[in-house]
């Protein structure tokens, strides 16, 4: 006889607990059927309203993955890297060499045209726009 058994025999309540344990209520077939029907209905709802696969514990995101998520993914980060490298190159090489690069891309004539473009319209164009001429 274990200590626990000995304790139980001395526990005046044990006869009541034992009787209650022996008189265990069993679920009726009707209750089991209702529970199963609920299970089926809930399963259907899972299928209709969202990912119904059981969600295992979601692993924590690493630092790089979190940064990528904040910036909008690899595509956005690729653009940012290109722009950053271009800025660095301009900073080191100086603006004089920009015309060489532009000539490489657009041809020498295009660079000359770019150099003579009047970006601020003259008085005549301004007057035309304001409807004051004539």
């Amino acid at each position: 006889m274990t200590m626990g058994d000995k304790d139980k025999t001395h526990d005046p309540l044990e006869v009541f607990f034992g009787a209650a344990r022996a008189a265990t209520p069993e679920p009726s077939p009707a209750l089991l059927a209702r529970v199963l029907a609920d299970a089926d209905a809930a399963m259907q709802r899972h299928r209709q309203t969202g990912p119904h696969a059981a969600v295992a514990r979601v692993p924590r995101r690493g630092g790089l993955a979190a940064l990528l998520a904040v910036l909008g993914g690899w595509r956005t980060v690729g653009g940012l890297v290109t722009a950053t490298l271009a800025g660095l190159w301009i900073g080191f090489a100086g603006s004089d060499r920009l015309s060489d690069v532009a000539a490489g891309y657009l041809g020498g004539g295009a660079v000359e045209v770019l150099g003579t473009v009047d970006l601020l319209p003259g008085d005549d164009v301004f007057a035309l726009a304001m409807g004051t001429e004539g």
Binding site: F16, A20, P25, P27, L31, L32, V35, A42, M43
Partner: protein
């Protein structure tokens, strides 16, 4: 999944299978967990019909939570014990308005404790006595002495410390002893 495998599978594994659309897992969980839910609800409420409602509602909550179940965080049975206990406690609170002294007395037309004892129906006598305990004491006594949970398990279910569980069960048992053995001669307690 094969029937044998379902019998041996853990409740958590069955819940994951259910969440993935396995109807056989739902049946296995229903047969395994509904009796437990009904037992606890019956012992907390002392009313078979209400206990069935609580057991069904607790199982429904299990079905609903299945897709988001976080594996390894809690035992399914512990979670269900907690839900059943809380649902039963809510119902007990709704019944309130009746003082503890009044609740301890059997309702008109129902057999008094003495009659139940003479009929040797100790289980029902205990149920009557349990009904007069404060909710938390009743919950702790039911889980410890009728469901056979350990004090740490009960602490998890009730979300309290182990010492608090020990205190609740000790006070509950003292009150039960007083109620059931206080009139031992009258009740024929010594004769069986």
């Amino acid at each position: 999944m094969a029937f044998d495998a379902l019998i041996e599978a853990s409740e958590e594994a069955l819940l994951v299978l259910y969440a993935n659309g396995d109807s056989a897992a739902a049946r296995a969980l229903t047969l395994r967990l509904t009796p437990m839910a009904l037992r606890v609800a019956t012992r907390m409420l002392g009313d078979g019909s209400e206990a069935e409602d609580v057991a069904q509602e607790a199982m429904l909550r299990l079905w609903r939570v299945a897709p988001e179940w976080r594996q390894g965080e809690a035992k399914v049975s512990t979670w269900l014990y907690r839900v059943v206990s809380n649902l039963a406690t809510d119902r007990l609170r709704k019944r309130r308005g009746v003082s503890l002294e009044e609740a301890a007395e059997p309702e008109d037309g129902k057999p008094a404790v003495v009659d139940l004892m003479i009929d040797a129906d100790r289980a029902e006598a205990l149920q009557v006595a349990l009904a007069s305990l404060p909710d938390r004491q009743r919950q702790a006594v039911v889980l410890r002495h009728l469901e056979g949970l350990t004090n740490p398990e009960i602490a998890q279910v009730m979300e309290i410390g182990v010492e608090a569980v020990e205190s609740l069960t000790a006070r509950g048992k003292r009150a039960l002893t007083t109620m059931l053995a206080g009139r031992r001669e009258e009740l024929g307690y010594d004769h069986g």
